[in-house]
């Protein structure tokens, strides 16, 4: 038995409707093939980095389970049949310990937030066109800042 980590990407609409049922079904698939679920975490609906099968929003379910290496192929095949699971990824966890910190970073490239996080006052003037242009400029400034802060570390 080895420890695996599985991340499901679930359709946003389905997750909003019935996350409990979805979770149960997915974990049942793992258990059907002899997997023993050790831990699970839900990550609520969010915007995806790109549209997957036409879905711009999705929710994630992260689970840690013990299974025989041979069962992984069957589990993957089973999960691929599911209609509301957009993506799945099963990864071996080295060391056999469920990590304490389970994070799923939010992809946030919005400049207003990054400036707020750094505690700067930056007013973005409103108005069509101009606003967009300013946003883009800030984006680039944000990138440079990240690099600069790296040097300071």
């Amino acid at each position: 038995m080895k420890l695996y980590e599985v991340l499901f990407l679930i359709e946003g609409a389905r997750a909003a409707q019935d996350f409990d049922g979805t979770e149960k079904e997915l974990l049942a698939v793992l258990e059907k093939h002899g997997g023993k679920v050790r831990d699970k975490v839900r990550f609520e609906e969010r915007k995806l980095a790109y549209a997957v099968r036409g879905h711009r929003r999705g929710a994630y379910l992260l689970a840690y389970f013990d299974a025989e290496p041979g069962a992984i192929r069957e589990i993957t095949a089973d999960l691929n049949l599911s209609e509301y699971v957009l993506r799945t990824m099963i990864v071996r966890v080295e060391g056999g310990q469920v990590p304490e910190k389970k994070i799923l970073g939010v992809l946030d490239t919005r400049p207003d937030r990054s400036f707020a996080a750094e505690g700067r006052d930056m007013e973005i003037p409103h108005g069509e066109g101009f606003h967009d242009l300013r946003m883009r400029e800030h984006d680039e400034i944000g990138d440079i800042d990240i690099e600069a802060s790296k040097d300071e570390e």
Binding site: I103, L107, D139
Partner: protein
């Protein structure tokens, strides 16, 4: 003292933090290693050691597959 500071800075950011494995789910860290377009920085730019750069490469590819990071472009 100064010598030590320099040594610390010369090392790769993951080595300094003693990171064993780079997590593909941690997009906030991965974003720092990529351009606004989502392209991975070179080792020269990111300052990563060979081992951690390879891990970062794999982590970014995994994050892209799970739609956590873009393959191309910022907001998709």
């Amino acid at each position: 003292m100064k010598d030590r500071q320099f040594k610390d800075r010369a090392r790769c950011r993951f080595c300094r933090e003693k990171v064993e494995d780079i997590d593909y789910k941690d997009t906030q860290t991965l974003q720092k290693l990529a351009t606004g377009q989502g392209k991975l920085f070179s080792r020269k730019r990111s300052g990563n050691c060979a081992r951690h750069q390879r891990q970062a490469q794999l982590a970014v590819k995994r994050a892209r597959y799970m739609a956590l990071m873009p393959y191309i472009g910022g907001q998709g």
